[in-house]
Homo-oligomer: 165 residues x 2
DNA sequence: CCTCCTGAGTTCGCTTGATGAACTGTGCTC
DNA sequence: GAGCACAGTTCATCAAGCGAACTCAGGAGG
């Protein structure tokens, strides 16, 4: 056998990559521009032309990404009328979309650490109440704060099956 | 002027999208397969053939992604000799790569919540010490735990410039 | 009423990236 | 020294991303 030639690896057979939540999420928001659209949405951008201007993405791609995000319930189209203009619609985050916030924060934190020159980060996230910097932290249900990835044990769960043993 | 037609939006002029850490990070690990390669790396996969087998990615793409990740210092090539085999090299996470762990956890958490059927998640992350489930949490430097994205205030930082006004 | 303007797309030709199959090269075993 | 396994490379095909041009709808202005 050429499998299991080293220890410490999650057994390949024991978990089904096709159901992986990372892959699933990436299938939804992993295309080019999707996460940048969401970044702008979190910063308050709502209208097509504004997304287009700040991102510089091709309109066809932007149309496709916005439609996909709406189809997945991450954004929703809201009719809206500005004074002296005709009715239009804007794109707003749903709760499902808002729940992608940690993903953006994680990407941003890594970029701040490894890509910013001289710690000169382009944007800070602060606690709205107290003004202090916020960051992501791994905690467990017992209340322990984990120090890093090494404290995490991945446990594949075999899906419960019906009749066959 | 057609800018600033609504309030509550981070002023477009005040921050430079070209320096955005989200975009920068995505430029490094945002291509197809990159994050899935890292997912496997976190699960202990190290060798080319194993990445290829578990991911099912085309070899040419996998070669390119691994090379890119090595070039960025996220993985490193380590020479290695199994008994009875010739010397090969394997791909191992660096600290820079390990620091992408929160990104994967965030993606996985979202997928677990919104894509898993009947809460039937394919993998759990547990605290290695106590066995409890782990999750990401937003905390501020004052120690407050934030309840969500709405508690976060994005603050653009204008880069310090030298002479011109 | 007719024309211009703007937001929100759609269509189109081109370029880039992904895909799977076939091929290369190297060091070990038989 | 033939065969095998790993780690790629090359190649033809196919999908995706790109910028520019075009479409369509509704309001403003003359």
């Amino acid at each position: 056998m050429n499998s299991a030639h080293y220890a410490g690896c999650v057994s390949e057979a024991l978990w089904d990559r096709s159901r992986c939540s990372v892959a699933g999420t990436l299938a939804v928001i992993g295309e080019k521009w999707s996460l940048l659209v969401l970044r702008e949405a979190f910063l308050g951008v709502r209208r097509f032309a504004d997304f287009q201007r700040v991102l510089g993405a091709p309109k066809a791609v932007l149309t496709d990404r916005l439609t996909t995000l709406v189809d997945h319930g991450i954004l929703r189209r809201v009719p809206y009328q500005a004074p002296g203009e005709r009715q239009r619609h804007e794109y707003r985050l749903t709760q499902k979309g808002i729940d992608l916030h940690p993903t953006l924060v994680a990407l941003m934190a890594w970029g701040d650490r490894y890509l910013a020159e001289d710690g000169d980060v382009p944007m800070e996230l602060r606690h709205r109440d107290c003004g202090e910097l916020v960051h992501l932290s791994l905690v467990c249900d017992a209340g322990h704060e984990l120090s890093g990835a090494r404290d995490v044990l991945p446990v594949p769960r075999v899906p419960a099956q019906g009749g066959d043993g």
